[in-house]
């Protein structure tokens, strides 16, 4: 039997939801535990083994100088580094600070702002180190996570499509909520969730981030025709993936 691959799971600025997706794998978790050596995963175990690691899964964005240093160290210890979730791949909800002055937030939230040492921006892992694969979602999808881990173990390319949510929505047989009159981000958002929201007659709000070739200005135009205002368009783009390039550019076009 070949030596098991060593897996590490890391956390930066985030809610832990993506790591929980891993713990949520139920029956598959046993297979995972059999297939890899979980060497470092503080959320799951107090046993924390030293590197190097074959595969590091990284959750969260970089928001402090200490983070920025630590991620370089993690990269140096990891054969493969995969980011999981919106925070790690685009900066997350906390990247809202990038559109404002972070010291105003610190002053408004903390009794002793002088205790807080933070960067001006929340940035994705790829802004600091080379990333081998980025798994999208807020939170990520369990099936997709297992596919990525399985692909890395087998040394093959993960099957993670980058087309729109509409592909999955139509395959599922949903009736298009946008054609029924509700502004939806599905046509510019990457698939992977299985089109959950439209299946319950709710519009997509973009929690898997921009798809491979999003035409957001054309979508915004249709949103306006359906009655959406500038502010609504800006705010919906500035939710989970506000700092991703395509969403940021279009939200800035609706700033004033």
């Amino acid at each position: 039997m070949a030596k098991l691959s060593r897996l590490a799971v890391w956390k930066f600025a985030s809610c832990d939801g993506c790591q929980l997706t891993l713990l949520d794998c139920e029956d598959d978790l046993l297979d995972l535990a059999g297939a890899v050596d979980v060497a470092y995963f503080p959320e799951a175990s107090s046993k924390m083994a030293q590197g190097p690691y074959d595969l590091s899964l990284v959750e969260g964005s970089i928001t402090t100088a200490h983070d920025a240093e630590q991620i370089r160290d993690i990269r140096a210890q990891s054969k493969h580094l995969v980011t999981i979730g919106a925070c790690a791949t685009s900066g997350g909800i906390q990247a809202l600070r990038n559109f404002a002055d972070v010291s105003d937030f610190v002053a408004a939230v903390y009794a002793r702002p002088d205790y807080i040492d933070t960067l001006e921006t929340s940035t994705p892992i790829s802004a600091h180190v080379t990333v081998d694969f980025e798994l999208q979602g807020c939170p990520i999808d369990k099936r997709q996570l297992l596919e990525v881990i399985g692909a890395f173990l087998a040394g093959r390319k993960p099957v993670i499509p980058q087309y729109s949510v509409c592909f999955e929505c139509k395959r599922r047989g949903n009736t298009c909520v946008m054609v029924l009159g509700e502004p939806c981000l599905g046509p510019v958002t990457q698939a992977g969730c299985g089109a959950i929201c439209p299946a319950y007659r709710r519009a997509c709000y973009g929690c898997f981030g921009p798809m491979e070739a999003p035409n957001i200005p054309a979508l915004s135009e249709q949103w306006r025709q359906l009655g959406a205002g500038k502010r609504q368009i800006r705010d919906v783009l500035r939710t989970f993936y506000g700092w991703s390039d395509p969403f940021r550019r279009e939200s800035e076009a609706h700033d004033h």
Binding site: C166, T175, V188
Partner: protein, 380 residues
């Protein structure tokens, strides 16, 4: 007048007899699928009874818009086609092709996915949809490499067609010579006839299986009045097409204009989201996804509807051949309306209008084709 009736003369049945027909199809071991109201649209799903049909409802369609409205009468087929098409059943959106697992030794065992146990009966198939099935037959059944699963479903299906009485704003089957009258490819074809107090269906017989099925339910021979009423319904529908497509020379028009500025114009509006291809009843492209489990014990190949609007669709070593939205939209329209003719001897468009209605930004392919023609002139 109706065409020469090869399998028997046209008959008349009432709503109670249609109920008996649905029961008879179910009792014959088929899974009966028909139009139902769900999620604010008329979609195709399993039906048990005429009570499942959207009686008294119609639809209002426009590019990028669809709404349901109540009708003044109790028509059960008084609407145009919705977001679903029959390819969902004959050529399902997601299906396992094969699975493999390690056996006790070190060998591998492969299993083909089983064929569906029960054949389908479709109730409410429109003329444009019959044509779409005929086109998919050419691609998936009659070519050099038939799709096994498609053939297994297709060859056993029983089709009850319906002649359209209510065209939508987005309909243009007349332009594509695909409707509104169901001419071939059905077992039985209904025309819904509504008078002030009389609700009945003219039944035409298209096959021996259809004749046998009709023989099992109460019916009477159609009189001249019913026949002329049915003709009037179809004439009204033909005259009520909301869209028109000029097909004269369209193959050369599109094939000779790959650099037309209109492609840039439409690329600014197109979302590249793939909805048009997913709702199109003739689009047949699929991708195959191979996955394995973490323990490396099992693997499977899953076939899924794909679309020429994804970058992966034209990905070869080094990148995507069609990397711009312009090239992807041009591929879709030119294949559908022109190259399809070279490839399969028929247009890929049946004039159902789904690609317009279900385009989130309402791109109208008849308008795009017209714009290219207007600024070019037809090459003769």
């Amino acid at each position: 007048m109706m065409e020469e009736a090869k399998h028997g003369p046209p008959a008349l049945i009432g709503p109670d007899d249609l109920e008996l027909l649905i029961q008879a199809l179910t009792h014959s071991g088929r899974q009966v699928v028909g139009p139902v109201l769900r999620d604010e649209a008329i979609v195709y799903d399993h039906i048990d009874s005429i009570a499942d049909l959207p009686a008294g409802w119609t639809d209002r369609q426009a590019p990028g818009h669809y709404t349901l409205e109540p009708r003044a009468d109790a028509a059960v087929f008084g609407y145009a086609v919705g977001p679903h098409s029959w390819k969902r059943f004959l050529h399902p959106p997601v299906q396992t092709v094969w699975s493999a697992s390690r056996d006790a030794g070190d060998g591998l065992g492969f299993d083909l996915a089983p064929d569906p146990a029960r054949p389908y009966a479709f109730v409410g198939v429109r003329a444009c949809e019959l044509r779409a099935i005929e086109i998919q037959d050419k691609v998936l059944r009659d070519g050099a490499t038939p799709d096994r699963a498609y053939v297994a479903r297709r060859d056993r299906v029983f089709i009850v067609a319906v002649n359209c009485s209510q065209p939508a704003e987005t309909c243009f089957c007349v332009s594509m010579d695909a409707g509104p009258r169901a001419k071939t490819g059905f077992d039985l074809a209904l025309t819904e006839l509504l008078d002030d107090d009389l609700h009945q269906f003219l039944v035409e017989i298209g096959s021996e299986a259809g004749a046998q099925m009709l023989a099992g339910i109460p019916h009477r021979q159609a009189d001249e009045t019913a026949l002329s009423q049915a003709n009037a319904v179809l004439e009204r529908t033909s005259a009520g097409m909301g869209r028109r497509m000029e097909t004269d020379g369209i193959k050369e028009l599109l094939q000779n204009n790959p650099d037309h500025p209109r492609w840039d114009d439409v690329a600014n509006r197109c979302l590249s989201c793939g909805n048009c291809t997913m709702v199109c009843p003739t689009c047949f492209c699929t991708t195959a996804e191979d996955t394995g489990d973490l323990a490396n014990r099992t693997a499977e190949r899953v076939q899924k509807w794909d679309s020429c609007f994804s970058l992966d669709f034209s990905y070869i070593r080094g990148g995507s051949v069609r990397s711009s939205t312009r090239s992807r939209y041009r591929q879709w329209l030119t294949h559908k309306l022109a190259n399809w003719i070279d490839q399969f001897g028929t247009s890929g468009c049946v004039g159902c209008g789904r690609c317009m209605t279900w385009c989130p930004v309402g791109i109208d392919l008849t308008e795009e084709a017209r714009a290219i023609r207007a600024e070019t002139g037809v090459p003769k």
